[in-house]
């Protein structure tokens, strides 16, 4: 990966003093990711260009770092201007970043005509975000997309102090990459504040900058699951929320809770409990004496356990199971909840779920919620025909949902009632539809 820094100030070769690197020498520094080479392709009084070329060792990059699938081996890291380049800037140009130049002490405080060129910048958020990040700092941004990729060929021009320019790059390159390249320890907060001194606080995008700069911590525990290469094909954070998520999700949980209270359930099983949002509500109500949370994902259950706290866990049992299999442990509960679960199953697998829930577990009450696809037209950000979540295998109209519910109820000896969840549109119905199944006496 390559960075060139050009100035056209008078006595342009003074850039060498500022950077503390002699224009006529090529120097190599060892940095954590590999070797950083500094040399000057051009050094005249009229124009001086310093180049920082970071050579990454692609083999060493991945050694001892198993378990992230094949992708880590074929990787853009050696070629793009990412956090590794930022680290190299910090290591090789540290004195310049601090604004020190003992031989020419007047230079660091001066604004110089500068041009920065980075041929391949990974820009999550595109050229638009590049502009939003650099323009408020006084740069003129020329960002040209590289082929049909998420990279841009970036040229920044402006009249800035060199230390500021380097600090901008040091902070904003990792932000643009939104990368996962290195472990972020607590001292990164200090690093960010130091490098951002004088400009970050007033930056209109400071929130995004801080979040991305510091948000690399999640996901260091890689489960075996990812090796299967199937689960994480989409990143939930890439998905724009199409429903007013919090409010509708809360309404949904409230409605489910109301039903469970009304039917007098004491032993409740939440099938597909996820990270446990409903479990945390259930556990607050002493009516629910025994609570079982079931999910297919072991890692999700760990999250649920973490969020539940020790005292709550005394009343809540968590169990990994799959609803497409029969599970004797699910029997004996008063009520079962399938909240936003069925739409995550391929239709051919629904009969297996029906058998295990309505046929084998057979609680007195089963509460099922699922999106009402008719309502989707009300979501402006949702493309026509798209589902609310990329993992939804289907979304049903009210008629489809009731047809399914009636058939299940008839087959397994249940009665079914429907309740709306959320604001009801007179033509389209509610955003979420809910069916309450009650087992027929004597069946």
């Amino acid at each position: 990966m390559l960075l060139t820094l050009t100035t056209t100030m008078p006595q342009a070769t003074d850039l060498g003093f500022l950077l503390h690197k002699h224009p006529d020498k090529a120097q190599t520094f060892t940095v954590s990711a590999g070797a950083a080479h500094v040399f000057y392709p051009r050094a005249t009084d009229a124009e001086c260009t310093a180049a920082l070329l970071l050579e990454i060792d692609p083999i060493a990059l991945v050694r001892g770092d198993r378990g992230q699938g094949l992708f880590q081996y074929v990787n853009d890291r050696p070629y793009t201007a990412n956090s590794m380049l930022a680290v190299a800037i910090g290591a090789v140009f540290r004195t310049a970043m601090n604004g020190r130049c003992d031989l020419k002490p007047e230079l660091p405080g001066r604004e110089l005509p500068l041009r920065v060129h980075l041929p391949v910048v990974p820009a999550r958020g595109g050229a638009d975000l590049v502009r939003r990040l650099f323009e408020p700092l006084g740069w003129t941004v020329d960002a040209v997309p590289v082929e049909e990729s998420r990279y841009v060929d970036l040229t920044l021009t402006g009249s800035l102090r060199l230390a500021d320019a380097l600090n901008h790059l040091y902070v904003l390159l990792p932000v643009l990459d939104d990368g996962k390249h290195y472990w972020v320890a607590r001292d990164e907060i200090d690093k960010l504040l130091r490098a951002g001194e004088g400009w970050l606080a007033g930056h209109p995008e400071r929130e995004l900058i801080s979040r991305r700069y510091l948000a690399h911590q999640r996901g260091y525990v890689r489960s075996a699951l990812e090796r299967l290469g199937e689960v994480d094909e989409f990143d939930p954070e890439d998905v724009a929320p199409v429903e007013r998520r919090e409010s509708l999700a809360e309404l949904r949980r409230g409605a489910v809770l109301a039903v469970l209270r009304q039917v007098g359930a004491r032993r409740v099983v939440d099938l597909g409990c996820g990270p446990g949002a409903l479990l945390r509500l259930l556990v607050k109500d002493p009516q629910f004496e025994e609570i079982l949370g079931v999910d297919v994902s072991a890692s999700t259950l760990r999250t649920a356990a973490d969020r539940l706290g020790d005292r709550e866990l005394r009343r809540v049992t968590l169990r990994q199971s799959a609803l497409t299999y029969k599970d004797a442990e699910l029997a004996g509960y008063d009520a079962a909840v399938l909240m936003e679960v069925v739409e995550h199953l391929d239709p051919p697998r629904l009969p297996a779920l029906e058998r295990s829930v309505f046929g084998a577990a057979r609680p007195r009450t089963v509460v099922v919620t699922t999106p009402n696809v008719e309502y989707n037209v009300r979501y402006e950000t949702l493309a026509a025909g798209a589902f609310r979540h990329p993992d939804h295998r289907f979304e049903w109209t009210r008629a489809q949902f009731s047809a399914w519910s009636e058939a299940v109820a008839a087959q397994h000896g249940y009665r079914v009632q429907y309740l709306p969840v959320g604001e009801v549109d007179p033509d389209l119905g509610p955003p979420t539809q809910m069916a309450v199944f009650t087992r027929e006496e004597g069946s």
Binding site: I59, Y73, V74, N75, Y79, V120, K326, R349
Partner: protein, 826 residues
Amino acid sequence: MSELVIPQLSLVALVGASGSGKSTFARKHFRATEVISSDRCRGLVSDDENDQSATGDAFDVLHYIAGKRLHNGKLTVVDATNVQREGRAGLVRLAREHDVLPVAIVLDLPESVCAERNEARADRDFGVHVIRRQRNDLRRSLRFLEKEGFRRVHVLRSVEEIEAATIRREPLVNDRRGETGPFDIIGDVHGCRLELTELLTRLGYHVEGDFASHPAGRRAVFVGDLVDRGPDTPGVLRLVMNMVAAGTALCVAGNHENKLVRALRGRNVQVTHGLAESLAQLADQSDDFRKQAEQFCYDLVSHYVLDGGKLVVAHAGLPERYQGRASGRVRSFALYGETTGETDEYGLPVRYPWANDYRGSATVVYGHTPVPSAEWVNNTICLDTGCVFGGSLTALRYPERELVSVAAQQVWYEPVRPLAPEAPVRPPEELDVTDVLGKRTVQTSSHGRLTVRAENAAAAIEVMSRFAIEPAKLLYLPPTMAPVATSKRPEVLEHPEEAFAGYLHDGVDRVVCEEKHMGSRAVVLVSRDGGAVHTRTGRSFFDEELTGRLLERIRSAAGKAALWSSLDSGWLLLDCELLPWNAKAGALIREQYAAVGAAASGALPAAVDVLREASGRGVDVSELLARTESRSVNAAAYRAAYERYCWPTEGLNGMRIAPFQLLASEGATYHDRPHSWHLSVAEQLSAADPELFATTANLTVDTTDPESVRSGVRWWEELTGAGGEGMVVKPLANLTRGRRGLVQPGLKVRGREYLRIIYGPDYTEPGNIDRLRQRGLAAKRSLAAREYALGIEGLERLARGEPLWRVHECVFAVLALESEPVDPRL
């Protein structure tokens, strides 16, 4: 000298005061692991074997260990004083819980002997009064021991008696594991003598009068219910009694024999369900015969465990936890089965369908419940085909597992309800979560017992239930394949020489080299009206509509190639490669491979430019420039490498399938057919639809012939030189065993350029390739062999018509193993 007989599987309580020599006795007669001593347990929980305040905890531990041992079918000796009734009651309860017989061995020595011994021990400081109290307790207990539930009580009253005693372990009466058959197991006869004679004759027995024997020494095994309802209960009894006495038959007790005995002994029983017929018929017999028949029926054992534990015969069937055990509960289940507590519309009890949940390894053969025809359910089979109700009398030949039956000559007894399965039959596609979760072992025919770790199963169940197609269509997941041993040649990581040498070393002389298609592994299940096309993790490649159209094309090609008729099957299962690569991996290529290509082509030429400029002004960057130029060339080669495997497709247009193995069809597997046969099947398909089916170029190599090996190397060089991914080398004969077990079913030898996609554009740089050479292959090879064996095991189970969970167990295990951490570049 007295011989103490104890059942081989029992809970032995030693009973005696402190100092009576229990521990010495236990050491002398039992293995150290068989004895659990309360003193020892006291020590385990408190560091002091004599700390009486730890007694409660110590007995918790003792009971826990004893319970685990009994659960595992191990004889267990409890070395504690056991002089108090409450303590013994706990042991009797424990024995009953595990359906083993409790036995007491009492060491009843004079107080003086006990006291003297205790005094000799420094750690026993309790007084004579303690021993006296214990002896009093013991004395009071003695005559109640049998009443308390001890099935055998042995009392030794002197030092000499104890010295002289020996112990003999007697197998349980149901333990006939040493008898290996062959057997002919016969269903409920119910007095149908005519049909029984006919069936025995059909089975090859010589029936003369009231005796039958088989010239080849086969033995009949009756599942009970010889009597009642039918026309000739005495005739049936006489024949079976003679056969059992002569050793040509075995017989277990049925509920009807049990009730008949009670009736004959004058107990007050309801004379229903055909008992009246038996009593009337027996009334015409001699007193002598009646007595013999009564004794015969009384002596019948609840069940037999036969053939090394592989076969269990019990009248009403028997779950695994009761097999080879002895208790009232076991006998009751074996004779009557379990009922749900409900009654059906005819007023008869609804029986609990225990066989649906059966997961044991022993085959269970039983009767008791009349069914229209004998059918296997989870390795169990009911042979009561209702002969007396006008059905048929059925026998199972074991180990052949063939069914033989003769029709009833008439309806001898009107059934209360029509012959039909009583309990709703478990849907064949129903799977239980316990079939897959937790640590599991799968017995395979080609590679022994294979273990799936619990955490791998936990990872796989998410993929299986969220992404895979329904299990009824997911019959096979392809195994991973190991690469060839790493080459020592400086310029490549993989080279065919090592493959040929490796197989030669394993004793394989003929191998086939198959062109490796660079696409996505696909398994195709096609039947006359359905099927599936799925990935190596069980996911459908395409939506329903496109899958349907693809299957239609495959179906019609199979028809043209006459595969349906030549294989005599309604479905085929094919292992294939689906092309192009981007058909499945489009997003991956765009976001990963193409992105790297774009980044490299953007960055490296720019770097070369500035380096040249610097060099032009006399700065010495020559080495760096040379390296960067070389990397720039590598990047271009990398782009060329992956772009070769991508081309646009539109629906089925542009899509190609290269089948290379026929995995299974109805009742058949093909891993014993040579690869040349499999490739010929692929060629037939390709001839039928050349647009869809790609053939696989191949070459047979003789590993013992250097010239042949050289031609194999040349073939690979040409293939990869022209941009091919590489080749797979397989033993021509297909499934092959070597000196050290299963030989690798295939080794991939990938081309130098292709490997840039795997190891990165610059892997060929000398410094890089030498480091990469240190890759370890053992884990990958082990994984490849295990997955291969599991795949074959699943297909064999499928071919044998075993229930879905048995097939799914193997399929699931492959997926679970895939989550083991193995270098994904291999």
